[in-house]
Amino acid sequence: MVYYIFRRMLMMIPTLVITSALIFAIIEAPPGDYLESYIAELKAQGEAVDTARIEYLRKEYGFDKSPVERYFNWVGGMFVGDFGYSFAYELPVTAVVGDRLFLTVVVSMATIIFTWLIAFPIGIYSATRQYSWGDYGFTFLGLLGLAIPNFLLALVLMYLANVWFGTSIGGLVDPAFVGQPMSWAKFVSVLHHLWIPVIVIGTAGTAGMIRRIRANLLDELQKQYVTTARAKGLHPFKALVKYPLRMSLNFFISDIGSLLPAVISGAEVVAIVLSLETTGPLLISALQQQDMYLAGSFLMFLSLLTVVGVLISDIALAWLDPRIRLSGGVRK
């Protein structure tokens, strides 16, 4: 086991190296850089360009050097905790992202719990009563959730929430609480606003999860050991939950890996529509403004989380299910 974990960690290194190169290439690819568009913008507004400062930034962040050199500077910096500097915010990347991290995690965790609470009972219901009206109904609802573009659902729900409950439009707290320290009233206000993003982000995930729980559980329920258990007179609840359900949760554990980056990235498009102060819109605007260190370091952080998440779920799978071989091809 220790050897397996060690080997997997070694294999992460080339993956991360390729990822970092790819991210850097993607961010470098659009013509121009942030400073150029910044200067152009200042000139367009008729403001004086602080040449000394621009020159300083250009030197400091090596825009005068070759891309290869810059790449190594960037990667080297990350090893010592220097994720670069956000030009748009004029702050180090860690400070910009750190500000928004807390809210992002709150929204994401709430979404995940919502997804599980809804998907589990419905998935089990659908599998045990296959082809019943309930099964068809839930399957259809789930597909509908998958088919509606998230941003539209967000818009409509936001509007309806405003009309029906008077919830203020956009953001996660009432405008009165913006910039105020955390208090009980503010917390309640957050709860009032939280349900829209949670439902909107959750629908697509819930739909997918119901389908997978149903499919996996159906596969297990057809196996002979379930028939045997029933024939022996095991309590129906035990014959469902203790054995088949447990076996069908392998996919769930391998999902935990992909949860990790999702918690941090905070569904981008929905967050933009609802103007949530999460990391998603930050990343999108950074990509659009070519704020390259902010975008690059954040993307890199996300893919590191993905790789670590996959490792965690692989280890958990191997630990829980003795049938999974450790050598070669752990994932099916």
């Binding site: 013509p31 405003n162 659009q288 790789v307």
Partner: protein
Amino acid sequence: MTLPANATRLPHTVSDQPFDPDAIYKYTDAQKALFEASQLRLMWWKFRRHKPALISGIFLAVLYFSILISELLAPYNLETRNSSHIYAPPQAIHLFHNGEFIGPFVYGFDYKLNMENLKREYVPNLEKVQPLRFFCSGEKYKFWGLFEASFRFVCPAEKGTMFLLGTDRLGRDVLSRIIYGARISLTIGLLGVGVSLVLGIVIGGMAGYYGGLFDVLSQRLIEVIQSLPSIPLWLALAAILPITWSPIVVYFGITVILGLLDWTGLARTVRSKLLALREEDYVSAAQVMGASSRRIVFRHLIPGFASHLIATATIAIPTMILGETTLSFLGLGLRAPITSWGVLLTEAQNINAVALYPWLLWPVLPVILVVLAYNFFGDGLRDAADPYK
């Protein structure tokens, strides 16, 4: 071996009854048809039984046929502006006027600018009865940009209007724009899946059959691409497309981007299927008979799971249609004058539109229907792809 001395040979007899292979066990016609059916026929039989899939398939076929004749179906041209009807609400079709049947018609609008809040207010005028015309000569259009024509299936009354789904900020008919938008929205998924199918089969096939270094490298690459969050990746790639490109080139650029990010799943499927099928007896038989590896892969292995592959690809199409919608919504997808459902939805992206002009949300209906139809259709295909199950 010699016979004992006193033995005689049995006489050599041949039954003179006509040969009937079914003499012992008679197959029914249905069984015969089943045994003799080709693979495609078996798939069709199985697919036919999946009613939602069948209906979805017919629905999709009708939609794809409609994009061939969008000009005939739409009551207006894509860019026709009705400056006197900006943000006009939908006009309902009526059949009876004052208790008298006069066929489908709409009531004309009386327009008034509310001076208090500067809102355009349209009130149906019950005097203005504007019967719709069918198989009529309406606004001139260029059919597929090739030749001029004016024949349409349905047109508004002379000097009348027909905005069944309302108009947008330039007074363009939303229904017509949805009909035209289908051209782009329906094909973008197909082209994208085409790109990802080619990439997936080639890369996955080579990785699965040759193995070795290529396999390791491609697996790492797939892992890398899958570990990147998809929306930022779309954005970054869409930002690379130069602003100077013409909209139609951007359209192809977007399809390639959607395809480039989607092939990883297909490549994995192809690879694992090849790895599994490589050990089958019929492959060993082909090898023993001296078939080249190329022949084995393309003649024996790929056809073995092509149907499965196509079914998997079908399920990827709705993701691409939604992806295009999202990209356009963020302003990084297609640009006017190319009109897709996603581009239409960008008009409805602020809360004002939802509150004041909710009919601008109509383009979401075809998106939902198409995504649902593709999901059912793909499910049916996937079940049918394995007819022996």
